[in-house]
Symmetry: C2
Subunit: 295 residues, 2 copies
């Protein structure tokens, strides 16, 4: 463990991150229903073992687009660190599939805090350790409101985004938007990963590395709004989440409990607001706009 | 820990399982893009904490359709038990969200074997502990071959299946088929869950409870073919997996390594065979059959 610097120095500095890169897709041979051979792209998936101060913590399976931000966001969302300033550096080396995290002052009680496993929904059984739900009731969400026009601007930006999903499928995408004047929404960060929790963790890492980020935040995900997605959004100071997909019962319960606006089934001009409708400024005339002139 | 019975008695008996049931969906209020209120069904999601011989092991988030089979399959797929006969009983109580597993002879080195966390793809970060990849090279898959007609029969059976997905969305489905004469495929078991790993674990639990199951096995999933899905299928003695979705690089690598036939993007008459094509008896004329007369 490194010697801890003075607290003020630690608070001021953002961690140093490597810029490790790896190919996001690979081509494989396939045979289709006509018996024809061809080549298609599939998403890469690789393991990344996180070491914190030389102690092995966990192995993540990831697409690997922005591994340093993923590791930072993972530590934040698992509440193992309080801010990016707790970390001195994150060094990713794809040759060995390792991310070495060096903290300023170690992680308090790391053994104990990573001992309780909760295997969560994800599409699978996501380990979020035990502390995810802790402190949820003390979360204060910002007073964000979004117009229906801003929602449509956001969904349209996602539609136009170039992505690994379009070329190779089988990944989840998520994005952070800020709401702008003139019914606009600005995409600040777009992340894809084989695991949607990795994608949101990477967004959390990205936010933590911003000195400042003006504007109300809205989180978009292609995946379902499960309890963890809602909790992680709230932890990132996001009061509105939008999904192409639906919501689960616990996602719904947590959204209601923390007063988060949860919008699902958002494609084209359609959507369902499952919770926190007071944050959405409805403009029903916009929904009908297309029906008049086109599909 | 219970007194171990004689080995022969343990091997003969299947575990006693409760039949705990809980509602799979609930209705919630929504507001749509026209500003209209309505009610829609969303999938239930609840936590189930597994205790093995009174020791807390893990908490799963699940739809909860067949929790006892989920717990049994989870223990099997995590390789914490070798067969269902290792378990004396599984008692699920939804009032407290607990599954009490009583084994005949305890689980050897359980502390050590559940210590190594691998956070996997899923749609999330699935804890599969460390031993999933162990022993993969020693797996001997059965000599299964499937005709294209059987594949179509299977995909059609899924299309016709009543499901929580159809009523509430946001769940993954999977099914176990056996191949039959006359180009047929028989659906033996259909499971949905908020997590697709829970769904496949439940199938593994179902298989383990069958005294015998004749016929070549084919596994179907709505989710992506990730490395864990492929490994878990192989562990269940399944040599062919079919997905509505795609495949990831590690899923592809594992399928090639164990000689498993991996078919993705299977909808209607379309599919892509990503690995193990020697197990698929192509009948390209069937693919064209619809194009002639219809869409």
């Amino acid at each position: 463990m490194a010697n801890p610097p003075t607290p003020s120095a630690a608070a001021a500095a953002l961690p140093r991150l490597t810029q490790a890169r790896a190919p996001l897709t690979r081509e494989v041979e396939v045979i289709d229903e006509h018996g024809a051979s061809g080549r298609v792209s599939i998403p890469a998936e690789r393991d990344l073992t996180i070491y914190v101060d030389r102690r092995e913590l966990v192995t993540l399976m990831t697409l690997g687009a922005q591994p340093e931000l993923l590791v930072l966001g993972y530590l934040l969302n698992q509440r193992l660190i309080e801010s990016a300033a707790d970390v001195e550096s994150i060094t990713v080396d794809w040759e060995v599939g390792a991310a070495a995290v060096k903290t300023h002052a170690g992680i308090d009680r790391i053994e104990e805090r990573t001992a309780k496993k909760v295997v969560t929904t994800g599409c699978g059984q996501g380990s979020v350790f035990g502390e995810l739900m802790a402190g949820i009731d003390s979360l204060q969400l910002p007073d964000t409101r979004m117009t229906q026009a801003q929602l449509y601007a956001l969904v349209n930006a996602i539609r136009l985004q170039e992505s690994t999903y379009k070329s190779a499928g089988s990944v989840h995408g998520c994005a952070l938007f800020t709401l702008e004047d003139g019914d606009q929404a600005r995409m600040q960060c777009f992340v894809e990963d084989v695991g949607r929790h990795n994608a949101i963790d990477t967004i959390a890492g990205w936010i933590a590395m911003q000195a400042q980020l003006a504007g109300a935040r809205v989180f978009y995900t292609t995946g379902r709004l499960t309890s963890e997605m809602v909790i992680k959004s709230a932890q990132m100071g996001v009061a509105i989440v939008v999904s192409r997909s639906g919501i689960t019962q616990m996602g719904h319960e947590v959204a209601q409990r923390v007063g988060l606006c949860a919008i699902g089934r958002a494609t084209n001009r359609r959507f369902l607001c499952f919770a926190g409708a007071q944050r959405l400024v409805l403009q029903p005339a916009l929904a009908a706009a297309r029906s008049v002139g086109g599909p």
